[in-house]
């Protein structure tokens, strides 16, 4: 008897909580309570930031050890490979510097913007993806440092993602590998355009809408096209990745193309936020 009465009361509580959740969910979804909800979200993020920073600095060596235990041999190998690669790249860089100067001059003649001229804010990655479902990272800079929603985020290698949420001292970046992210891309060699969508952590990007007759080969460089890719818009000419697969299936209207991101989005420590909003 007592048990069932208690269960009855808890059922009322549950019903109340479910209805409250659905109300909050609906408000957020329809964007009507967005101001209030965003403020609550941002206040919570900012308030807990110092505690998380402390915990992060204590536990990141533990985390590194945790992943290092399994990958030590791999790291030694990789180190040797990287050293020889640096030498190659230094050579290529000197050639590129001249090309960049030429490009800048040509674009300036036509009064066109180039993304390489954009102001940049360097930021430290303070949190890996918190959720198992989202590919988002958190940066230690926010609106106080001039970061706004929709700004592109890059590393020296290439595109990382896009700012989706900003509070005073933090900002959240959706990585290009997130399943809900999409990037309008152009193949640098053949100018074929398509839309690259994420497929989760550690996976390649799938590029849709590439014409069957377009000349796309493995190894081609994909850069942002500046065209709207689904919901996300990026400025043109940011390197995204290299083509790892390009198949034509008989009877299909588009090619199957996969791109491997140039930036190692799973192990980011520092990134740059480009201060341009498309």
């Amino acid at each position: 008897m007592a048990l069932s009465r208690r269960n009855g009361r808890s059922r009322v509580t549950l019903l109340f909580l479910i209805l409250t959740s659905i109300t909050v969910l609906t408000l957020d979804f329809r964007g009507e309570g967005a101001g209030v909800i965003d403020r609550v979200r941002h206040t919570a993020t900012d308030a807990i930031a110092p505690v998380r920073d402390a915990a992060d600095s204590v536990f990141s060596p533990v985390g590194s050890a945790f992943s290092g235990i399994t990958g030590y041999d791999h790291l030694k190998d990789e180190n040797a490979k990287l050293k020889s690669r640096i030498a190659d790249l230094q050579g290529a860089q000197t050639q590129n510097e001249d090309a960049v100067r030429e490009l800048r001059e040509l674009l300036a003649l036509d009064h066109l913007d180039w993304v390489g001229n954009a102001k940049q804010v360097a930021a430290r990655v303070v949190s890996a993806p918190v959720s198992n479902f989202e590919q988002t990272i958190e940066l230690d800079k926010g609106s106080h440092d001039g970061i706004k929603v929709d700004m592109p985020v890059v590393t020296g290698a290439g595109l990382v993602g896009r700012v989706v949420d900003v509070s005073g001292s933090r900002s959240t970046v959706r990585l290009i590998t997130d399943p809900s992210a999409s990037v309008g891309v152009r193949m640098a060699r053949s100018s074929a355009t398509g839309i690259a969508t994420g497929d989760g952590a550690g996976r390649r990007l799938t590029v849709g809408f590439i014409d069957v007759n377009a000349d796309v080969r493995v190894g081609d460089l994909a850069v942002t096209s500046g065209l709207s890719g689904g919901s996300d818009i990026y400025p043109a000419s940011i390197p995204v990745g290299r083509v790892t697969r390009a198949d034509r299936q008989p009877g299909e209207l588009q090619q199957r193309v996969e791109v491997k991101p140039l930036a190692d989005v799973a192990h980011l420590r520092f990134v740059k936020v480009l201060q341009v909003t498309p």
């Binding site: 808890s10 959740s21 659905i22 807990i48 533990v62 945790f66 918190v130 949420d165 799973a266």
Partner: protein, 169 residues
């Protein structure tokens, strides 16, 4: 010291573990879902009503750090808390592995519920080929951590083991 004084620090601790500590300790790229575990452990210790309330609070806190619609975790976790609470009041004289199994099963079920409800509100990207790994690893983490979490909550909610429905030594 009343539960009202002890529970908030436990919640804060859980948020720190959830957002800063366990994301560093990933297996197959999957981290523990501490907020869901907190909900399950509360329900094991305190029954359906407290389970649902804690689920709601923990869910809202988890939502602060997610891009999915605000309230989705709160909705999922309060339901999980209630069901686990109802389940635990029916199981008397339990052995140690019952809460361990409960935590693993409830975590997996809660994650499926989250994905399902997410899909209903248009978050189709939650359904992916990565889901089985997420279910397996979060359930495993919960099974490993539940004993500690139950002890912590028993302290916070000032419930002694004799009055709780379970015998967890």
């Amino acid at each position: 010291m009343t539960p009202a004084v002890r529970v908030p620090p436990v919640l804060l601790l859980a948020v720190v573990l959830h957002t800063a500590v366990f994301p560093q300790l990933r297996l197959f790229g999957v981290a523990a879902d501490v907020m869901l575990l907190l909900t399950v452990a509360t329900a094991i210790v305190g029954g359906p009503e407290r389970g649902a309330l804690m689920g709601f609070a923990a869910g809202l806190l988890a939502d602060c750090f997610l891009q999915t619609p605000f309230g989705l975790s709160a909705l999922t976790y309060c339901m999980v808390g209630w069901f686990v609470g109802v389940f635990q009041t029916r199981v008397l004289h339990a052995v140690w592995w019952i809460p361990v199994l409960t935590a693993a099963a409830a975590t997996a079920a809660g994650t499926v519920l989250f994905v399902g409800l997410g899909a209903v509100v248009g978050q189709d990207q939650l359904v992916s080929s990565h889901l089985p790994a997420i279910l397996g690893v979060t359930a495993l983490w919960s099974a490993v951590l539940v004993t500690l979490m139950v002890r912590l909550l028993r302290w916070a909610m000032m419930v002694d083991s004799a009055r709780a429905g379970l015998v967890l030594r």
